[in-house]
Every structure is written in structure tokens, then in C-alpha cells.
């Protein structure tokens, strides 16, 4: 990509020109060494300042050129080309590569650095890699950068994404989410804490696993975790840098322990205004839906089951009617239509540069009445009144209205609704099924209690409206060419108002509503001094000194009400009963000082060091400041004399780094000190008239910092005329004093507390390959491939606490990896009896569920069935251009991770009184001796087995989330998107005052190769949490979509 660089001083000279006959000049700009046309080179007449940019074939047409005038062609990375015009009709311009200019600049945190001199591991994604790909830039980054694993948790619009850089480094939920910095402002990033909207009734994401009830192991929580990154318009982004190793991240200290993502937005360039307008429309459907029982099949299965079930377990002659046949999936799924519009104008003079854009996204989810709307506007202005000073601002304002909060709940309920229940009563009202013993008017099935109506639920009013301003103001002084002083103030104002309504129904007369307001406000002040000085020819010193102060206030108010006299009355003040569900105001502040020194000797030897001191209000008062050092070294071998003979190698740089980062144990807001609070239950309890004070947080003075030492070694190579770039990294991380909520003896008065439970390591490799495979005038093919692997291992555990208090059914075992599913070994179904079989720890196989035994050691009969983390993952991205036609396609893959198919477990659970609809796979249940099948007989010894006698209900060990029965390999290869476009830049386009029109079509998630039997191998029932990943609990699958669009450049 080239940029306009027009010296404005030239303007003054225009008047002096004498009149000459004007001619039209055509020409082509090519790169001398390769013969490749150069797209976007700036061609202009110096005297008139008129000009244009070369098109896709490198062609240009200049009007009104007079003899004697100067034609200049410029392009970043090339030396300027100048011609005194002598009346030619056609000009062929050969531009020569300028090695000095070519060097790519990379943002590195509080500054930039030339890629050539970089000694840390930094991945980069540029504008064209993400433009037009997805509504949120994080979604567009999947499979684009080595070492960055991005997992789209659900198909609900605006739902959270799990981003992990170089694997897990912590057992804490939110601690694996990278820091996200937009134009210098560390913003409210991914994480459940800040982004979850809890709304009492409907639901998405979020959930709990556990409890004693075996078969109903998953509990959908009324919570929606939003994606905070979706408020940014991807078209505004110039580049995204991912800081991966310790040298790169240490400048962010404790804030960067899980990696850093730096987002830089577009800036204006001096020259004629560039106007871009784009519009697209797309259609989406889920990539699949489960096969469910029809009304008749439903009736058959349940009638048979209850007939076979002994009366003592609740069996009997029940009749499940078949008067209605409802395809609930059909009722709630639609083809979602999404319209997106964006427009931007950028340009400016040497003194003032601007970039202004607006974007409107109107997305329909594929669940009925679930919509997502985003409007965002950006203003980036830089003002440069004198050589030594620059002011500027980058501001993004966005309004996101997410009316799709109920998507997950609607989908889940629609899947589970018995298909013999109608949507509407005969009078057109919604039908709500109630228990058999109650009102016959609202009852159909003899078993199956109160149910919601998913269609009604989808039509309930629910929204979360985010208004957000992310912006900064800066001033930069440059008193000497080698010295810069930059001060900036940044802000992230992130407010949300959420409302959710449940309409009146038989079990909830008058309906209910909940409303919450979250107000998050963050200020950042950065002061940075940088020195870039060459001391004679051999030494180059680059020093950054700075200070940063960041403070955030997060407040939350929640109210709920029940009993409205009319469904149209929205205000909770009109509800019969009202309750305050939340009222908190929490603050924190971080004060940091940092320094970075980079030294280059003789263009080939590189050394670097950083040090950052963080002080945080959240840290314990006696450990308020913590320092984080890092060191790095690099060697550009190709600069050495002995390498000059290797002509195919253009550049080879070896680099290595070592550093320390850390995570404070106090995840609460006010350190580890003990805290008490006044009892707030129902207006506050008292004891004999004295209001009760309760412990809110127990003190934890022994808690140590979780520290991560990271080592990285790698190389960057460029070969065969810079046509192939290879980057390789090996990293090793050692994490000591892992923090986790772990059990403490109950006789201490408490059950769990945050503890340092042990040490772990994480090591891996990353490879990225960029190849300009074909680079000709008419056609080109650029391809990039990346592959990452990270393998973690628990080195030691201080306690017997193999089962952490908050990791669902996953356990942590010394000597093994993280996120392990430790499960009971389900062998299958005995073809002779139809009973399920398990393999016990001692190798015996029988039909007694080991889970029913009271284990002395809870792991005795369980085995390591795999991890929810992949063995390796990556992507393959391609761009092919043939003349004006361009084709792009991207694959992403992930191999070796396990997924618990909780969807199937739920759809195989028929012994609950809910009598949910089931997977059509159930029809193959065991029928007669000799029948080989995976599905046990309906009434088998384990769903009626109960050590406590019949009154305790049926535990259903066959569908327990602790069996490996539904644990599957979720490896996949996905064609994430494929796009085909055609660019018009002929004369007729010019006549419309446009310079280019691109028409394109794009398909997303066209196909997925996987052995996973569920719908989507990529979902996560727990949103952004990587530690809780690996559960598909009827989680909304992603959408398959088809998009048509047009982009116009003026």
C-alpha cells in the first residue's frame, strides 16, 4: 500500500507557469526489479498539484499536462521518480526500491520500531487482512496470527470471543485475556466481569456445571457476556499488533501478563481527500441444527419409557398425545439479513490531517426477533502547526443496541420443547405447558411440568444498549530530531443499560422484568519521552522513558420487578414487587513507570532491555509496587560478510528474549485485606435489634504473586528476493505460584479461598510463512500460513486440591496438562442386556456406575480423557488476483482438542420430569438381546440405580457429565470465508467521479471438516473463559452466511 506524500509548498509555484498546450498523458508504474505493476502510486504534476493514484494494473492517466512541467511519482518504499514533461503520450515509470524506506514500522507499546530492529515476538495484522471480513475485528483475526487462538463462543450476535495468546498462563478465568490497547488507551477488554449483563430471566452464555444432580448437570445462567471489541468498526483499523513474548509485553508489566493486542486506527495523509463508501448485505442461517424427535416419535419414546419404568420409580401407563406436531426449530429460526454501511473521508495538508468515518451495522441473528445494531463514528485529527509540535485526537463514539440477549435461551428451549406441544392456543394466545395435576387447559403431556414458550420468549423485549466513547488527546513535542516528548490522555467510557422482560404467563402472572445499568469509566494518562540517536555510524540508541496512570470506576445498578398489570407497561416502578438486585461502585488505579532501551551496533547486533514498575490499588498495601524486567538480543546475520554469498537469503535475524511478568492474587478490588459488609438480605437482617455485619472477603496475607518467566528464541527470514518470509519462535514459560480458588479445611471456618496452588510450564512453537507465490503484472497469488502449538503441564501442586473449586468437572493433576477432562470410562452398551457398561479403575467392566460409589479418592476410577485445549491450531489465508478479479479465501484449523457434547447428553436425557424433546438418535435404543447399539435400553440399571432408595429420584448416571460417553474429538478445518471481487476502474467509472468500484461476494463458514458429531466444534458455553472451554451445551452454533457488497473509492 502506498500513501500520498505531496509537498504543499509546491502550490505556490503554480502561478508562475507560462501557458502551454495541455496534453493527456497515460502511463504505467512498475517496480524495476520485479516488473510488477505498482498499485496506488501517487502520480502528480508538481506545478498544478493535480494527480491521481495508479490503478490495479499500475496504470494512470494525467490530464492537462504542459511541457516543462514536472511529473512526480512517489510511493512508500520506493525512491521518488521525477520527469520534466516533454510532450510524450505514454510514460513508463520504473520505480526503484528504497531499502531505507521499505522497512516496516511496528507498534511496540508506547512507541514504534522498525520491524528489522525488533527483538521481541510481535505478530501483525494489517487493514486489508480484516477489512470486510467480519463485523468485529477479533472475529476477523481468527487463524491470521501464529500464537493467537481466537475462539468464537457462540452464534449469537455480539457475543463474547475467547482470545488466548500462547496458551494458558493462569487458572484464573479472566486472567488469560490479553490487554487490548486502542490508540494508546488500554480499554475494557474481553472478560466476564465487565461485560456480563445479568438479567434474571432470559439467557445466553454463562452457565454452571456441577451439583449433586447427575443428569441435569448444566444450568443455563441468565447472563449475556458481550464482546467489548465489537463496538469498534473494523474498517477504521490501520493495523493490529500482537505482543507475544516477554520483551514485547513487559513494557505493560502486570497488565500484559496474558499478552497485549495493540490496535492502531487510520490516520489522514496529506493530499487530496480520499473518500470511501461501502455497502453490503448478507444472509445467514445456522450451520446446522440438531435432529429431533417428531411429535409421534416423542410420544412413542416417552409412552414406552414410562410403561417400562417400575411404578416405584414413577412409571405408569401414561399417554402422550399426538394432536400437535410442532417443528420448534422451524418456528424460531429465520434467515437473518444483515446490512452494513460505512463511509470514510481522509486527507489533509502538511499541517492538518484528518480521518473521519461512520459505520452502521444492522444485523439480524438467525433466531427470530434477535437483532443487533451498531452505529459508530470516528474522528482522528492530527495538527502539526510547527515542525516541533503535533497535537491530535483519535475518538470513537459508538452505540451498540443488542436486542439478541435471548438468542441462547430461545434456541435452547426450542430444541428441548416437546414437539407435540403447539405454539399457540386455538384463540391465538401463546400456549404455555403446565404440569398435569394443574390446569387441564394448559396441559398436554402427563409428565413434563411447566414450560416456557420459546416463540413468546423470542418476542419478549430484551436489550443491552452500550454507549461507548474511546478516545485520546495527545501533544507531542520534538525539540530535536532525536528527542520526542509525548503526553496523552485517554478515556474509555462504556455504559450499558439492559432491560429484559418476561411476559405474563400461567406460571408467572403479571410477568417480570429486570433492568441493569453498568457505568464504566476509565482514564489513562501517559507521558513518554523517547530518544532515537545515532552515535557515529556504528551505534544507534533508542530509549523510551515513561509513566502511566490508569484509573477505572465500575458501577452497577440492578433492579427487578414482578407482577405488571399489563404486558405493555415497561417501567419496573409499575411492578407489584420490586427489588434492588445490585448496587455497587468499585474503583481501581494503576500507576506505572517504565523504561526501554534498544541498542543497535553496526546494523547487525541488537540488544534490548525493559523495566516496568506497577503500583496498583488492588495490590496488597505491603506489596504495592512490583517490577517487571525483560531482556532481548538479536543478530541480523545477513549483514555479516560471510553471509553475503548466500544470495537467496535476503535477511535472516536471530532473536531471543527473557522476561518476567506477574499477576496479583487480589482479584477483588481492594487487595487481600479482610472486608465486612452489612447484611443486605431483604432490607438487612439484625440480631435482637443489632444490624448484622458479615464477612465479605476473608483476609489472605500469605497469598503470593503469580509470576511468569518467559523465554523466547526465534528467527525472521526473508528469502528468494523477499518473496518468502518465515518467522519461527520457540517459547517456554514457567509460571510459579499459580493462583486458584482452592479448598481449605472447613474447620478454619471457610470452604474455599484463593491460593497459590502450584507451578506450571507452557512451551510451544509458532511458525508463520508468507509467500508471494506469483507476482506478475496480470496476476498474483499471496499466501500465508501459520501454525502454533503450545503444551502446558502442571509441574507441582502444593495441595491435594486436584479438583479446583471453580473449574467445572475439569481437574488439575500434577504432571499433566491443563483443562483436563478426568472422566469415568464409558465402555458402551452390553448387547445382551442393554445395560451400560463402565470400566473401573482396576480394569473390571460391569454395569455399576462408578460415579455412584462413594470414592475415598475421587480420581480412583477416572482417567485422563483429554484436554479442551488443542494440540495445534492455525490458519491458511490466500489472496489471488487476476487482472481486476480478486479472490480471497481463509481456512482455520484446530486439532486435538476435546469437546464435551453436552447438547447430546441433554438430548439423551429422558428420565427427568421435564420430559424434554430428544435427539432422533434415541430411536436406536437397545431393543432385544444381540442388538448392537450405543444407546442403552430405556429403563436400565443405571437410570434407576439409587443407593438411597426410590424416593430420591432417578440419577441417570448414563448421561452424566462425568462420563466420557459424550466427550468427543473436536478437531476441525473450517473454510472461514471465501470472497470474490471485481474492480472497475475504466473510463465510465471516472465519468462518475469515482476512481474505483469493487463489487464482491463473500461466503462465511461454508464448510467445516470435523468428526465432532455436534453442530459446531468451535462453541464455548462459558463465553470468553478459556479455562472453562470445551463444553457445548446447546450453545448457539455459528452462522453460515452469504454477503454481497460494493466498495467505492472516489
Amino acid at each position: 500500500m502506498c500513501f500520498l506524500l505531496i509537498p504543499m509548498l509546491a502550490l505556490a509555484q503554480e502561478k508562475a507557469m507560462t501557458l502551454q498546450p495541455a496534453k493527456t498523458v497515460k502511463g504505467i508504474v512498475i517496480e524495476e526489479s520485479t516488473g510488477e505493476p505498482i498499485i496506488g502510486a501517487n502520480v502528480y504534476v508538481k506545478e498544478s498539484m493535480r494527480g491521481e493514484v495508479t490503478n490495479m494494473e499500475g496504470n494512470f492517466t494525467l490530464l492537462d499536462v504542459k511541457e516543462g512541467q514536472t511529473v512526480i511519482v512517489s510511493c512508500i518504499g520506493c525512491k521518488d521518480w521525477t520527469l520534466i514533461y516533454e510532450g510524450q503520450d505514454f510514460v513508463k515509470v520504473n520505480l526503484v526500491e528504497d531499502m531505507m524506506e521499505l522497512s516496516e514500522v511496528v507498534a511496540v507499546g508506547y512507541g514504534v520500531q522498525e520491524r528489522r530492529d525488533l527483538t521481541g515476538a510481535v505478530g501483525k495484522v494489517s487493514a486489508q487482512d480484516i477489512s470486510g471480513v467480519a463485523a468485529s475485528f477479533d472475529n476477523a483475526m481468527v487463524g491470521k496470527v501464529a500464537g493467537v487462538n481466537i475462539n468464537l463462543s457462540s452464534g449469537a450476535p455480539g457475543s463474547a470471543t475467547a482470545i488466548t495468546i500462547r496458551g494458558l498462563t493462569s487458572l484464573q478465568d479472566d486472567a488469560n485475556n490479553p490487554l487490548i490497547v486502542i490508540d494508546g488507551v488500554p480499554v475494557y477488554g474481553t472478560g466476564k466481569k465487565v461485560n456480563s449483563v445479568n438479567f434474571g430471566n432470559g439467557s445466553v452464555a454463562g452457565g454452571t456445571i456441577g451439583g449433586n444432580s447427575v443428569s441435569a448437570g448444566f444450568n443455563q445462567e441468565p447472563e449475556f457476556e458481550r464482546n467489548p471489541l465489537s463496538s469498534l468498526n473494523p474498517e477504521d483499523i490501520e493495523s493490529i499488533e500482537i505482543l507475544k513474548d516477554a520483551f514485547a509485553t513487559a513494557i505493560y508489566g502486570s497488565r500484559g501478563a496474558a499478552g497485549v493486542i495493540l490496535v492502531t486506527t487510520k490516520k489522514g495523509q496529506a493530499g487530496k481527500p480520499q473518500i470511501r463508501v461501502g455497502y453490503s448485505t448478507s444472509l445467514s442461517r445456522p450451520i446446522g441444527t440438531p435432529d429431533l424427535l417428531s411429535g409421534d416419535e416423542y410420544s412413542d419414546i416417552y409412552t414406552k419409557y414410562y410403561k417400562d419404568l417400575p411404578p416405584v420409580n414413577g412409571g405408569g401407563e401414561y399417554h402422550f398425545p399426538t394432536d400437535h406436531q410442532t417443528d420448534w426449530m422451524d418456528e424460531v429460526i429465520r434467515t437473518g439479513i444483515t446490512n452494513e454501511f460505512h463511509a470514510s473521508v481522509s486527507g489533509g495538508t502538511e499541517e492538518t490531517k484528518y480521518y473521519i468515518s461512520i459505520n452502521q451495522l444492522d444485523q439480524q441473528g438467525y433466531i427470530i426477533n434477535q437483532d443487533y445494531k451498531r452505529t459508530s463514528a470516528r474522528t482522528n485529527i492530527d495538527f502539526n502547526p510547527a515542525k516541533w509540535i503535533t497535537f491530535g485526537t483519535n475518538t470513537n463514539f459508538s452505540v451498540v443496541n443488542n436486542e439478541a440477549l435471548n438468542s441462547q435461551a430461545v434456541y435452547r428451549e426450542a430444541v428441548l420443547m416437546p414437539s407435540n406441544i403447539p405454539v399457540y392456543k386455538s384463540n391465538g394466545d401463546y400456549f404455555y405447558h403446565t404440569a398435569a395435576q394443574t390446569n387441564p387447559e394448559w396441559n398436554i403431556n402427563p409428565v413434563g411440568g411447566n414450560k416456557d414458550n420459546p416463540v413468546a420468549l423470542a418476542n419478549n423485549e430484551n436489550y443491552a444498549k452500550d454507549t461507548r466513547v474511546i478516545g485520546n488527546l495527545y501533544a507531542e513535542l520534538k525539540p530535536y530530531s532525536w528527542l520526542r516528548l509525548k503526553s496523552e490522555v485517554g478515556i474509555d467510557l462504556y455504559n450499558t443499560r439492559a432491560y429484559n422482560r418476561q411476559l405474563s404467563k400461567p406460571t408467572l402472572v403479571g410477568g417480570s422484568a429486570s433492568e441493569s445499568t453498568n457505568q464504566n469509566l476509565k482514564y489513562v494518562v501517559n507521558n513518554v519521552l523517547s530518544v532515537n540517536k545515532a552515535i557515529n555510524d556504528a551505534n544507534l540508541l533508542n530509549v523510551t522513558l515513561g509513566q502511566s496512570f490508569e484509573t477505572s470506576t465500575e458501577s452497577r445498578m440492578g433492579i427487578s420487578g414482578q407482577g405488571f398489570y399489563d404486558d405493555d407497561v415497561k417501567s419496573i416502578s409499575a411492578a407489584k414487587t420490586q427489588r434492588v438486585t445490585a448496587s455497587t461502585n468499585e474503583k481501581w488505579a494503576v500507576l506505572s513507570y517504565f523504561a526501554r532501551v534498544n541498542y543497535r551496533f553496526k546494523d547487525r547486533y541488537l540488544l534490548g532491555a525493559t523495566y516496568r514498575v506497577d503500583g496498583s490499588s488492588r495490590f496488597n498495601a505491603n506489596e504495592r509496587y512490583m517490577g517487571f524486567p525483560s531482556f532481548s538480543a538479536g543478530w541480523i546475520m545477513t549483514e555479516e560478510e560471510f553471509m553475503k554469498s548466500v544470495s537467496w537469503l535476503n535477511e535472516l535475524k536471530l532473536r531471543s528474549s527473557y522476561g518476567l511478568t506477574g499477576l496479583d492474587g487480589a482479584l477483588g478490588y481492594y487487595g487481600n485485606q479482610g472486608q465486612w459488609t452489612i447484611n443486605g438480605n431483604n432490607g438487612g437482617l439484625s440480631y435482637n435489634g443489632v444490624p448484622i455485619l458479615e464477612v465479605k472477603q476473608i483476609p489472605n496475607p500469605n497469598l503470593k504473586w503469580e509470576t511468569t518467566q518467559s523465554f523466547d528464541i526465534g528467527f525472521d527470514a526473508s528469502m528468494f528476493n523477499n518473496r518468502i518470509d518465515v518467522t519461527f519462535d520457540y517459547f517456554y514459560k514457567r509460571i510459579n505460584n499459580l493462583l486458584s480458588n482452592d479448598y481449605v479445611p472447613l474447620y478454619t471456618g471457610y470452604s474455599t479461598q484463593q491460593q497459590n496452588i502450584g507451578d506450571m510450564q507452557n512451551q510451544g512453537i509458532e511458525v508463520s510463512l508468507n509467500a508471494r507465490i506469483i507476482k506478475r503484472k496480470d496476476w498474483s497469488w499471496t499466501s500465508s500460513f501459520n501454525l502454533s502449538r503450545s503444551k502446558d503441564k502442571i509441574l507441582s501442586l502444593t495441595e491435594a486440591g486436584f479438583q479446583m473449586a471453580e473449574t467445572g468437572y475439569k481437574v488439575v493433576v500434577e504432571g499433566e496438562g491443563l483443562n483436563l477432562f478426568y472422566m469415568y470410562d464409558w465402555v458402551g452398551v452390553d448387547p445382551m442386556t442393554g445395560d451400560p457398561l463402565w470400566r473401573w479403575g482396576d480394569g473390571t467392566v460391569n454395569n455399576v456406575p462408578p460415579q455412584a460409589e462413594s470414592d475415598k479418592s475421587q480420581l480412583a476410577n477416572r482417567y485422563n480423557a483429554g484436554s479442551s485445549l488443542p494440540d495445534f491450531y492455525g490458519g491458511w489465508n490466500n489472496e489471488v488476483r487476476f487482472k481486476n478479479l480478486d479472490i480471497r479465501f481463509s481456512f482455520s484449523f484446530s486439532v486435538g482438542q476435546k469437546m464435551f457434547n453436552g447438547s447430546q447428553a441433554t438430548l439423551m436425557t429422558y428420565h427427568l420430569k421435564d420430559a424434554y424433546n430428544l435427539s432422533s438418535d434415541i430411536l436406536d435404543y437397545w431393543k432385544i438381546p444381540g442388538h448392537e447399539t450405543d444407546i442403552p435400553k430405556l429403563v436400565n440399571n443405571t437410570n434407576t440405580y439409587n443407593p438411597y432408595g426410590p424416593s430420591a429420584g432417578l440419577p441417570g448416571y448414563d448421561v452424566s457429565r462425568m462420563n466420557d460417553r459424550f466427550l468427543e474429538d473436536a478437531s476441525y478445518l473450517r473454510l472461514r470465508n471465501v470472497a470474490i471481487g471485481y474492480t472497475f476502474s475504466q473510463g465510465w467509472v471516472k465519468k462518475l467521479y469515482m476512481s474505483r468500484i469493487r463489487l464482491y461476494a463473500q461466503a462465511d463458514n461454508l464448510f467445516t471438516l470435523t468428526n465432532y458429531s455436534g453442530i459446531d466444534p468451535e462453541v464455548n458455553a462459558f463465553g470468553s473463559s478459556a479455562t472453562l472451554g470445551g463444553y457445548d451445551e446447546l450453545t448457539l452454533p455459528q452462522a453460515m452466511s452469504l454477503k454481497f457488497g460494493v466498495d467505492i473509492t472516489f
Binding site: 449433586n212 525539540p479 472486608q675 447484611n679 439484625s686 495441595e799 430420591a952
Partner: protein, 472 residues
Amino acid sequence: MKQLKHITGTLLAAVGIFFGGCNNLLDIPPEGNIVEDDVFSKASSAEGAVAGTYHLLLEAAKTTYELADATTPMIGYNPSNFFDAVNNGSLVSNDGSVENIWEAYYAAINQANLLIFKIKDLGTYEEDQMAKHIAEAKFIRAFGYLNLLAWFGDGALIQQMDKPGVVLYLDHYDGYDPVKDKRPRDSNGVVYAQIIKDLEEAMPDLPETANSATDRASRANVAMCEALLSRVYLYMHDYENAADYSQKLLAHTEYKLVSDFLRIFPPNENGGVITLTEEHVFAFPVSSNGGNWQFGGNGIYYHFGNQWFDEDFLNSFNDTDKRITELTREAINNDKEMVSITNKFPNTDSRDNLPVIRLPEIMLIRAESIVRNSEKIEQDAIDLLNEVYLRANPGETGYKAADFTSAEALINTILDEKSKELIWEGVLRFEQMRTGRSLYNPDLAENKKVLPIPQREIDITDGLIEQNEGYK
């Protein structure tokens, strides 16, 4: 350029000032919460913490209140997993309900520990008030340990003092330290000694009693300690001390039997605040807690009719016994049988006060102890027995020495009267156990008469904590 240098200098100076001057920016106090150290420095917040500790004790008492009656032969109940498991001896060591009992009592005990340590260290209010708060904490701790011992101490109620009791954890918890916080169980004898020590240390700093009956029975005082000590010694089979301490309590003139049972256990349809009476020695004043059935109730749901009087036991009452005529009603159980259920806790939102020690218990402790000490038929004992008996049966003449053929027979009558008086009040299980009478299941093995120690405690201490014999 000179000007430039000037600007640069100023800017650097400004940055320098900023660098130096923002330490206090990091001291952000929590809103809505009080830092622990502040809680104990002021009388008002320390008072709130003490109130909170009594509340934790109530929460603990709620976990066992019904179970202590449901495991005796005096009652019948609708099918219940937990009651069945305890009565059949089929409890497993990771039973969640057992864990709840253990956890709830230790929660109260450890908050009491915190008060004992922190008020001494951080308190800046009146010395007397501080001493009283610490003494109340010791009372709470003693009560908590006595209940833990009665439920978990192997043989604690049958004088097996050397067998393992429970873990004595008397430090204030200050973050988990795997080295110093892994503890074995202390013997029954050691735990009893600690209970007695706490109560004896508490008494000098506590008021004798209090003016209002509700204050008197809801916050610790000397009389309450004496009453609890008499129960402790009774459980230890130390009848000399039991007789002494019960006598001390009886010497306080504030305590009197209330003639009207409906004043002790009022109908309470609307769940209003109910005052305690002159015969309450220790009770949780639940009716004034605030909150509702969900938060702040007593957790007693006898009004549902899931537990009822055993027929034989019911027949042992006189027909006109007021405890039957005024405090029971009829109900239908799961097997469609007509049964009698208690009306002692009539409020359907569980908003009734929860009695723990009433005067009749102390009277009968005194009566039993003096007979056991002298091994004779004591008229003093018969008089105390009659006071309790005649209140419920005012038309009768009462027992006479001649009615008893032996001291043993008198003791049995005293024990029977105690069952009749205190049924549904969370103590009968221990009466049965300490006197060798049978529990609900007469065939239950002796070593299954305690609950198992929660398995997680054994796991987490690497086996330092021993399981009770019946569950090994």
C-alpha cells in the same frame, strides 16, 4: 531554540512532579464494605460483628435442629433421604448435609475466634464493652464446640474421653497456611475442657443477667453460661458439677416457669416480633431478625406435617396434658394416616423464635443430677420434676416419693418428662445417647451413632484427620 529548551525543561519538571506525587492515588477505600481492621476498632461495628456471629450460630443450629429429633424414637417422619441415611447407618463420608453441619458450626466458631483476637488487638472502645464482646465470642465458641462434639465426637456422650472428638481451631484464620493449618482431631476430653475453659473465662466479663426477658435470653450472660455448663457436665456424666451449675441458674430469680404454653410458643400467624419469656434461658430471637422465610427464618418447617409424634410416645402423655392439647394439631401423612404434629413453630414463614435452653431443662438436669449423685430418691428432685409436670397437667396431684421403687425409676421418670417437655426443640437425640436409650433405629450400631467426618477434611489434611470408626 532557546525557547524550545525552556519548554522541554518545564515539561520534564512537570513530569517529574507527577512521578513523585501520586502515591496516594492508589489508596482507594472500598465503598459499601468495611475493612476488617476498622470493624473491630469501633464499638458500633464490633457490636454488628458480634450480632453477626450470633447469627452464624443460628445458621449452624438450623442445620441440626430438626435432625436431633428426627433421629429419636419419639417421632415418625415422611420418607427423607437424609434422615433415612442417618437412621439406617448408610451415611457416606461425602454426604453434603453432613458437610453442611460441620461447616456451619465451624463458621460460627471461627468468626468468634476472630472477635477474640481482633478486638483485643484493634479495639479502641471502652474496656468493659470490649471484654464483654470477647466473652460473648467465647460463649458462642463453647456452644459451637459442644454441638460439634455431640454430633461428631466418637463416644463423646458416653464418657469415651480419649477417643477423637473434633478439631480445636482456636486461632483466628488469617489466610491458609498448609503447614500450620492442617490439624488432627483433638480428643473428646480435650474439647470438653476447652468448652469449660471458655465458659469460665467468659463469665467474669459478662453481665449477671439482663432486664428484659428477650435481652436476657438472646445475648450471653453469666446465667446463660451456667445453664450451658450444666448441660456440658451432664453430657460428660459429671453430675456433681451439673448439679452445681443447674443450682446456680435456678438461684437467679428472674427465671420462672410460664404457666401459659401459648406465651412460650405463640400462634404467630402474622409473623410479628415476639418477645421471649421468663423461662427462656437461651433462644435465638428469630422473630425480630427482619427478612423473610428465605433469609432470616428459623428453617423449621414442622407445619408441613412431615414429622409427627410417634404413637406410643403420644400415648404416654395424659389426655389432658397441655403440651398436647395446646401445642399439637392433627395432620395427614404420606401414608394417609392421621397423625399429631407439633404447633411449637406455627408460623408458615418460619418466623418463630428458636429456643435453645429453657428453664425446665435446667430443672430436670438438677433433678437428675442430685438423684444420680446420691443414688437415692430425693424429694428435691421430685419437687423439680413436679414443677415441670404440674404446669402441663394442672389438674393432677404430682409425683410422690412413694411412686418410685428406686432411684433408677425416678431418673427414668425425669428423663421421660424431659422428652415430653423438650420434644421438637433439638436436644432429644443427645438425651437418648447419653443415657443409653435407643435412637430411632434401635438396631443402629453403636459406632454409627455419630456422623462421619466429612471426607474432604480427611483428604485435605492428608489423613491427619481420622474418620470415625463406624465409617472407616
